[in-house]
């Protein structure tokens, strides 16, 4: 895995967990799938992952990247082929030691994509079930169910059946069920993909609030990048069974390690590097397919020719009136005003499209206008691949 070099000067990047007490540890996990034609595809390809108490690690990636398989392997619903998994300080899976604890004894709770509420049990019965399995006394169960229902604001639905509830209510019950045992670790398998936008936002807050209360280690799978950035203490971007980058959402957004992360998390304009030359004291001139950029500070090995791309976030682009200094002359294609910001796209002379994000102060432009493209160089990221 190549490390990206950033032009920004910020605190040192860290990939270590913030917390010292790890609840879930995964080491060198492998799992393959056989396609219908007999082809073997790695679903989880040598993953290492540590999740600490109170942390929420979000697994983000395109569909089929192995995030759900990794999650299901953690709780024991899938059996990996090799590697180790430990939870709450004890091994739950180890291929070398032939350990494979069944899901009911791993003590990891789970929230499912399609609620998975049992239709033949009442709301109370659903929430009580994990406690019955743990042989909690009846009076304690009653109290715990009451508290769990109160925490999601559904006390009055205790005796209803799931079929009588709305989607949002069902997912709240599922949340209460996964929290009722005060678990050390909880995994979330795209739990909000089936509820509407408003309920989704409410439930995100409720999940984070529950985490504050219970303090569990959370692992959260989603393919929604906004949700990923909002929920994550650390964001793990996955591709083809591997974790490509794992860091705080801010770091992942500001310092993507490669082109894939730069375009998958947020939007990036990718410029192709065509040549690099020294310029002034410590600076470089990078010629790209869009135009020449002068970078005042750059990594030492930049002249070695290893950097192939520059990622430019939309907010690094702005427009100036024609004739003012800029790296290229462009034609404004679309302008979308959305309150505090203006999104725009421009066409370069070679037909290439770039997208930018500016303040309404520059809303003078109209589709069809000529403009000078200005790039704010300190926030660009040089990428090797």
């Amino acid at each position: 895995m190549s490390r990206a070099m950033s032009l920004k000067r910020r605190g040192p990047a860290t990939t270590e967990p913030v917390q010292s007490t790890s609840v879930v540890e995964v080491h060198d996990l492998f799992k393959t799938f056989r396609r219908e034609g007999g082809e073997v595809v790695p679903a989880v390809d040598g993953v290492d992952l540590t999740v600490g108490r109170g942390e929420m690690v979000v697994l983000l990636g395109p569909s089929g990247c192995g995030k759900t398989t990794l999650l299901r392997s953690l709780v024991g619903l899938e059996t990996p082929e090799s590697g180790t998994i430990s939870a709450n300080g004890r091994p739950v899976y180890s291929s070398d030691d032939r350990i494979d604890i069944p899901p009911e004894r791993r003590g990891i709770s789970m929230m499912f994509q399609h609620y998975a509420l049992w239709p033949h049990m009442t709301v109370g019965g659903n929430i009580e079930y994990p406690l019955v399995n743990r042989k909690v006394s009846k009076s304690q169960r009653r109290e715990a169910v009451r508290r769990a229902l109160a925490s999601v604001g559904l006390e009055e639905l205790h005796n209803q059946y799931p079929g009588q509830l709305s989607g949002g209510q069902q997912q709240r019950v599922a949340l209460a069920r996964s929290m009722v045992t005060d678990p050390q670790a909880v995994v979330f398998d795209e739990p909000l993909s089936n509820v509407d936008a408003q309920v989704r936002q409410e439930l995100r807050i409720e999940i984070l609030a529950a985490q504050q209360r219970v303090g569990f280690a959370g692992i959260y799978v989603t393919h929604d990048q906004n949700e990923a950035m909002q929920m994550a203490t650390r964001l793990a971007v996955m591709r083809r069974g591997k974790i490509v980058q794992i860091d705080t959402p801010i770091e992942v957004y500001n310092r993507p390690v490669n082109r894939f992360v730069a375009t998958f998390v947020g939007t990036s304009n990718i410029l192709e590097v065509q040549g690099v030359a020294a310029e002034g004291a410590g600076g470089v001139r990078v010629s790209t397919d869009v135009g020449d950029l002068v970078l005042e500070s750059a990594p030492k090995d930049v002249l070695g020719g290893e950097y192939k791309y520059i990622a430019a976030r939309p907010e690094t682009l702005s427009l100036a009136r024609p004739g003012e200094p800029g790296i290229a002359t462009v034609t404004v294609e679309t302008v979308m005003f959305s309150g505090s910001t203006v999104e725009f796209t421009v066409l370069l002379q070679n037909g290439r499209r770039m997208s930018g994000l500016a303040t309404p102060a520059t809303a003078w432009m109209r589709p069809g206008d000529e403009a000078a493209l200005v790039v704010s160089t300190p926030s660009l990221t040089l990428l090797r691949d």
Binding site: S22, E25, H27, D48, L49, T50, V75, G76, L77, E81, S82, T84, I85, S86, R90, P91, S94, S95, D96, D97, R98, I99, D100, I101, P102, P103, E104, R105, R106, G107, I108, S109, M110, F112, Q113, H114, A116, L117, W118, P119, H120, Y129, P130, N133, R134, Y161, G163, Q164, R177, T181
Partner: protein, 627 residues
């Protein structure tokens, strides 16, 4: 990254939690999981079924083909040069070529009316698919004999002749004659419609109505939309239904034997069975060759059906059930509804009234009289063999349905554990479908009836034959019950800390109860009145209801026959209905449906039996199992 280090103590401690057996790293295990006693049992059960399906037929074929140690073609020559055989084959073709297109057209119309228009009538879509379950085809045929007999049919005597008399119609016969080509074709059509309706309406329900909305917005009329958009979208279902109707139709025995024989119409099924049953000495070789021909025909259609179904799976339209457009039929609404009500009456109510009326008369007479008597019912119980047949059929149906469901449940659990072997097990248990009742009956009487096994005339041979005959329905219905227990529901139980046995008892089983009872009822209802294979396999010591009805019919004791048919139908509806109502309301989701009333709870849409095809030849309904 932290490395997990495991002490030997930890390994020793935790290995107690593991299912037994080593798990070598990096090597694929032969089974997905360890092989336990359950798997051994399942393999044994499925193997026994495979043997029971393959052995009798193979033996029957060998017995005909190998005479005195050499290949014998005499039987083939005899059959394929026989005028009777070609007449029967031609008759079958003539009936189906007319009946199937009509059945498909009427079914498609009914499906569209009920799924998409404001002529929809809840009870039609509820009752249509389950008519074959509730009212045996034999009872419908006999009922229509009473209604539309050329001379003494009630419709002729009491309704049509007086009515047509005004227009100068004056005749002692007609105008209707059920013992005729149109009559036989009519009953075939009525018999086939429920099967076609189920397939087509399910397909239509699955289609997102926005396709049709888009067509209407684009300026097409409701009729044009139906013709240009809706029907093309369900083309795979229409083709599947057509093939299914040909397969079922080619193997029907009860209708032609009762209605065709008096008119000199003999179908292939009748030819095959009568070559053994009504000719002395029985021509077993002719029967076997005829059955082979039938299996070849149905099997070919079945093969094409599978190919279409496989292709259609990829073209399936997403199951998003949005709000459906209701096409306003305007002035056509009432006529459309009247048409559907008429059909429901023709298929169920009218023949039942005919049966009941004859059963309550001293004898079948073409007149209306309220001078009712229970004499016919008394006569049923005064004769030894009729109550005996009822008892035999009841014991066969109850035990057969129970064992059949257990076998299917064991096989389904095995397929769930070992997905790789699922297609083989599934294929074995569904293979009796295209083999047809006729051929299985023939195989059993020759393969198991004769020496060295010599089961002819026993209860056991009927029981084993029924298990084989209805194994496709069992595996389809039980598989659907399994599918309703989605993977997530039992997984949620496991991550909630429940052991596998608790997960089974508290989650899977309660969710499966409605489906399992539906499967039981399906088998029970069909086994109770099976007549085709039973015509070959039942004996004076072990007569069964289905065969006895044909026998009484041929002897001409119509009053007694009517009473017997009424009793069988009543027995069927009461037992099947009770079990379904109990199963549905005890089961998982039924609890919420108390408002619905017992009939819709048991048979209505959403009940476990509603979407399961009644015939073993039907393709499996879409696999709801999530992976």
């Amino acid at each position: 990254m932290a490395h997990t280090t495991l002490g030997p103590e930890a390994a020793a401690l935790e290995s107690a939690d593991l299912p037994a057996g080593p798990r070598p790293r990096g090597r694929r295990r032969f089974f997905g999981r360890q092989v336990g006693p359950f798997d051994a049992f399942a393999v044994l059960v499925v193997g026994a079924m495979a043997l029971l399906i393959a052995y009798p037929l193979t033996r029957a074929v060998i017995r005909v083909m190998w005479v005195d140690g050499s290949f014998n073609t005499e039987a083939f020559v005899r059959v394929f040069t026989s005028e009777l055989f070609w007449n029967a084959a031609w008759s079958t073709a003539r009936i189906l070529i007319v009946a199937v297109p009509i059945a498909i057209g009427v079914s498609a119309l009914f499906a569209w009316l009920n799924v998409r228009t404001n002529a929809r009538m809840g009870f039609v879509s509820t009752i249509l698919p389950v008519i074959p379950l509730l009212i045996p085809g034999l009872a419908v045929s006999i009922g229509w004999k009473f209604l539309a007999d050329e001379r003494a049919g009630f419709l002729n005597v009491l309704v049509l002749r007086p009515l047509l008399g005004f227009f100068g119609y004056d005749s002692e016969t007609g105008p209707l004659n059920i013992n005729s080509w149109p009559g036989v074709i009519f009953i075939y059509t009525v018999e086939l419609i429920p099967f076609a309706y189920l397939m087509i309406s399910v397909a239509l329900r699955d289609i997102d109505s926005s396709y049709e909305e888009a067509s209407r917005i684009s300026g097409a009329s409701a009729g044009r939309t139906l013709w240009k958009v809706s029907l093309p979208l369900i083309k795979p279902a229409l083709m599947g239904a057509t093939l299914l109707c040909f397969m079922i139709g080619a193997a029907i025995y009860s209708i032609p034997v009762i209605l065709g024989t008096p008119a000199g119409i003999s179908t292939l099924s009748v030819y095959i069975i009568n070559s053994t049953r009504s000719i002395y000495p029985p021509r077993l070789d002719v029967t076997v060759v005829g059955a082979l021909f039938l299996v070849l025909f149905v099997g070919t259609l079945w093969y094409f059906d599978r190919r279409i179904a496989r292709k259609a799976r990829f073209a399936r339209i997403g199951g998003k059930s949005s709000t459906r457009t209701v096409v306003d039929l305007g002035p056509w609404r009432r006529p459309a509804q009247a048409f559907m009500i008429t059909f429901a009456a023709v298929a169920s109510v009218l023949p039942l009234i005919g049966l009941l009326y004859v059963a309550l008369q001293p004898y079948w007479r073409p007149a209306f009289s309220l001078n009712l008597t229970m004499d016919q019912f008394t006569s049923v119980f005064n004769e030894d063999r009729l109550p005996l047949a009822l008892r035999t059929s009841l014991s066969l149906a109850i035990l057969g349905a129970t064992i059949g469901v257990v076998i299917a449940a064991v096989a389904s659990a095995f397929m769930d554990r070992h997905r790789r072997f699922a297609p083989i097990v599934d294929g074995i248990l569904k293979s009796p479908g295209p083999i047809t009742h006729v051929a299985i009956g023939v195989g059993f009487i020759i393969g198991l009836g004769a020496a060295p096994i010599s089961l002819a005339g026993t209860w056991t041979i009927l029981f084993l034959a029924y298990l084989v005959l209805y194994s496709p329905q069992a595996i389809i219905a039980v598989g659907a019950a399994y599918g309703r227990v989605s993977g997530e529901l039992s997984e949620a139980s496991a991550v909630s800390g429940a052991s596998p046995s608790r997960t089974f008892l508290r989650v899977s089983l309660p969710l499966m109860v409605p489906g399992l009872t539906a499967a039981w009822v399906l088998l029970f209802a069909h086994m109770l009145v099976e007549a085709t294979a039973s015509s070959l396999l039942s004996s004076p010591n072990h007569p069964v209801a289905g065969f006895i009805m044909i026998d009484i019919f041929e002897s001409g004791f119509y009053g007694q026959l009517a009473a017997f048919a009424v009793l069988v139908t009543l027995l069927n509806v009461v037992i099947a209905g009770t079990i379904l109502v109990v199963g549905q309301s005890r089961g998982a989701t039924g609890r919420l449906n108390r408002r619905k009333g017992w009939f819709r709870t048991a048979f209505g849409r959403g009940s476990a039996i509603a979407d399961v095809p009644q015939t073993g030849m039907a393709p499996t309904p879409s696999e709801p199992r999530s992976s």
